[in-house]
Amino acid sequence: MLRFILNRLIAMVLTLWAVSFVAFAIIQLPPGDYLTTYMATLAAQGERVDPRAIEALRQQYGFGEPYVVQYWKWITGILTRGDFGQSFEWKAPVTTLIWGRLANSILLEGLAVVVMWLIALPIGIFVAVKKYSLGDYLATVAGFIGLAIPNFLMALLLMYLSFVYFGTTIGGLFSPQYESAHWSLPRLWDFLSHAWAPVLVLATAGTAELIRILRANLLDELKKPYVTTARAKGLPEWKVILKYPVRVALNPLVSTIGWLLPALVSSSVIVSVVLNLPTAGPLLLRSLTSQDMYLAGAIIMLLGVLTVIGTLISDLLLAWIDPRIRYGSK
């Protein structure tokens, strides 16, 4: 088991290095740089910009240097000083901008994952066991509707309905008075009263997929002889289903936990913009359009780290629930 983890860790470091290199390269691909965008903004506001002043800034920011030199400076800064560089647009160190927003992302999207599983697991088991029943069809229809409605549209609908029927504006994660307060019971309540909308929106999109995968896997397992044997031996029905077939059917779900986080972060960008959630998504979007490269690079890099860590967790979980994987690694 130890060797299994060690192997995984080495692969992780290599993957991260590759991610950082590619991320940095992609950010620099579009024509122009941050200063082109900056100049465009000033010009659109009617301010006159002296091209020579921009050239001086370009030197100061080090845009003229070759790609590899820029990359080397960036990556050594991260490794030696934990310094992700400067955000040009916010004119602040990247580290001061991203941690709070990433924490919000993880909190919100973690909640969405939990809610998604809480809804999808029982329904998935139910529709497999009661195949082609009325309940199966109803759950399937509801699931597909959730899958088919784009997230942002669902968010807009919720905002509109809540404005028309309750006279309140949904948006943000906290009321102003709790914005900068420390965590406390009232603050938690305030958070939940704001967070239900985005969590609901994000969770509904994924449930249908989970339900379908679980149903298909479980249907395969339920037909197998060991299930019949267990039943013949007189095990209670709930134990027959939960103890073996469900455990096996969970395999493909568990192995994709690692992908959930990045998928949620990227799919939630527009929802976050529409609902004004202070998560990493809108920050990433903005930094990409304005070519604020160190900020965008840091977020992409950290998403990479999260993905890799998620994959490690799912590997460990798999080894734990499925002995075949555990022994296979020896």
């Binding site: 000033l42 091209p51 927003r101 504006t169 943000g172 359009t289």
Partner: protein
């Protein structure tokens, strides 16, 4: 718009004397929220905080009452323009509410030398920053000194290489700006948003980040996590309206409201609170502002801001939400949201300007696009009424790139020439331009096909998508093969120097700010996309692509140079009219329609809000309408 020029010491002294003459009878008052601070000794009494002759502001409707919070919203944390418009507009001088005169602000008067090179300003006696330190000529000199550093700051007249400026400090309240060459437009610059740079830095506070005054500034910057002292300075002492300026609550301000909760990268709202040292009073001697606080929700979601306004959670706003599409919703929601709509008159003179590239690198295309007949033909093919009806629900009228009807430079003929939809006239014009129609589309005389690609950015103005599709159909019906190329804004700008684009579109800047923003009337700068290479020649920039302009454009450039160094306003007007006449004759760009009025949303109990307002960026609405004299009526 006629910008009056003040010769000699300004007669406002006389005006002030009248008001002060009435003043002593009335005790000066301050906001109740400051009474406790004064009583406890944390704040000096009002007489010591105000300058000896505070600026007396005539309220729009009536003397107001103190208190209340003005709620509005920023679209994301980088929306500094809304703060620039609401809080920041307090320069050395300012525009009056009619936008036709420059009036005293921080400077109580000024004097202009005969040769228009030396401008001597007299500051109000006893002005103070919001931390109580005096605001003096030294602060002005410091800003000029700092921005003269080659690696520091952008976009200010201080950095102009064509006409460098220096400061002579005469005493604490008197100083001169001395230009190398005559400068006839500097007061306009100082009254607009660009002029705020000069008065935005306190030497007392900001010099600590400057190696000239603090030997260890560079090391301190490193210790704070910044690579250079410039980055550290920028972070602590953001100038004028830069976003970063609102993130440092320690930075001294001269504005009506000062930072309470800063606009940092992680903030979900920014708040401002009254500046106890603000140097303006109403006609009864009450210290301004009337409103205690400003809170601005930081929201990436326009939908959320729209709903907040509908729900009555916004006291005044136009930015972002006052769109053509939203207008019926806001109109219907007035009663429920307890707000009213007021009119904004845009400074823009056009909903879309089509700019063919007169400096195209392809010889044949350059010749065609530079041919006036070709552009006349294109203009006659546009069915502008159709575009106005379909896209703008009938608001507006056909219009070329020309000063707006409200402007003193308005010339009806210039605005209306070639705007009638007339396919026959177009066909004749194309023939005159040497095009031949082979079947469906026109080709060059030698038979090579003519397909024209128009670059556009759909994200900047959503109406443009609809407008351009109609325009493509209309021009196509008239025999022009048009392709639309929807691209990102960065690429849009990158393509300009290369010169191998056919045409680009943009909005109609320069409808009221004709002199300050002449980009469509002559090749004046990088935004004159239709003559980018001529503009480089004019600016003396990028010699590798600069090209000598056509004779008529050169004549305009000479007139503009004369205008910029002309001290007499009447003569400047005359020169501008000559430049416009040349533009009218040569018809360089094609306009579509005059934009209809915009609107703002104000709560019903918010008073002293002018209606209608002229709306521009250089005249940062609602700033010139004095938001510090708005108040909430108590009922």
């Amino acid at each position: 718009m006629r910008i009056g020029l003040f010769k000699g010491w300004v007669s406002t002294a006389a005006l002030a004397a009248v008001i002060i003459g009435a003043g002593p009878a009335l005790a000066q008052q301050q906001a109740p929220m400051l009474d406790d601070l004064v009583a406890s000794g944390d704040l000096p009494p009002l007489e010591e905080r105000l300058p000896s002759n505070p600026l007396v502001v005539e309220p729009v409707e009536s003397i107001g009452t103190y208190g209340g919070t003005w709620r509005s919203a920023l679209r994301g944390g980088l929306d500094n323009a809304w703060i620039a418009r609401t809080v920041a507009y307090d320069g050395l001088v300012r525009y009056n509410r009619e936008w036709d005169e420059i009036i005293p602000n921080l400077a109580e008067s000024w004097e202009i030398s005969e040769d228009s090179r030396t401008y001597t300003f007299k500051l109000r006696e006893g002005l103070k920053w919001n931390n109580g330190t005096p605001f003096t000529s030294e602060d002005i000199a410091f800003a000029v000194e700092l921005f003269s550093e080659p690696g520091y700051g952008v976009g200010s007249f201080i950095k102009s290489e064509q006409n460098p400026v220096s400061v002579e400090v005469i005493d604490d309240t008197t100083f001169s700006l001395v230009f190398e060459k005559p400068n006839g437009v500097i007061l306009d610059e100082l009254a607009g948003v660009g002029g705020l740079t000069l008065v935005s830095l306190s030497k007392d506070y900001c010099s600590q980040f400057y190696p000239k005054y603090n030997e260890s500034a560079a090391e301190e910057a490193q210790a704070a996590g910044f690579q250079t002292w410039e980055l550290w300075m920028e972070d602590r002492c953001g100038w004028a309206t830069e976003t970063i300026r609102w993130a440092n609550p320690e930075l001294p301000f001269m504005n009506a409201w000062m930072i309470e909760e800063p606009l940092t990268g992680t903030a979900t709202r920014a708040t401002f609170v009254r500046n106890p040292y603000y140097w303006k009073v109403d006609t009864e001697g009450n210290q301004l502002p009337y409103i205690d606080r400003l809170t601005m929700r930081v929201s990436d979601s326009v939908e959320e801001i729209t709903l907040m306004a509908l729900n009555g959670e916004i006291d005044f706003q136009d930015r972002h939400i006052a769109t053509v599409i939203n207008q019926p919703i806001f109109f219907d929601g007035q009663e429920q949201g307890d707000y009213r709509l007021g009119a904004n008159i845009p400074s823009s003179m056009n909903t879309l300007i089509l700019q063919f590239n007169l400096n195209h690198v392809d010889e044949k295309r350059r010749e065609l696009f530079a041919n006036k007949d070709f552009r006349i033909g294109v203009s006659h093919l546009l069915d502008r009424e159709e575009i106005i009806d379909v896209v703008f629900t009938g608001q507006g009228e056909p219009f070329q790139a020309a000063p707006r009807p409200e402007s003193p430079y308005y010339d009806e003929e210039m605005a209306k020439q070639y705007t009638e939809f007339d396919p026959d006239a177009a066909a004749a014009a194309f023939e005159a331009a040497g095009l031949v129609r082979n079947g469906e589309f026109y080709t060059f005389a030698d038979g090579t096909p003519l397909n024209i690609t128009i670059d556009m950015i759909s994200t900047f103005r959503t109406e443009w998508v609809d407008m351009m599709e109609l325009l493509q159909l209309q021009l196509g019906a008239g025999g022009l093969d048009i392709e639309l190329n929807n691209i990102d804004r960065t690429l849009y700008y990158e393509k300009r120097p290369a010169g191998d684009f056919d045409a680009q579109i943009w909005q109609g800047d320069g409808g009221l700010d004709v002199v300050q923003e002449p980009r469509y009337y002559m090749p004046s700068g990088d935004e004159s996309v239709w003559a980018y290479r001529w503009a480089q020649w004019y600016q003396g920039a990028r010699p590798e692509i600069a090209e000598e302009p056509a004779d008529w454009a050169r004549e305009q450039m000479e007139l503009m140079r004369t205008l910029q160094s002309e001290g007499d306003a009447a003569k400047r007007d005359e020169l501008m009219k000559q430049i416009l006449a040349i533009a009218k004759e040569n018809f360089p760009v094609i306009g579509v329609s005059l934009p209809g009025n915009g609107y703002y949303i104000a709560k019903n109990n918010l008073r002293n809000v002018a209606e209608p307002m002229l709306h521009a960026y250089l005249f940062p609405t609602p700033g010139p309408y004095d938001p510090f004299q708005w108040y909430f009526a108590q009922e």
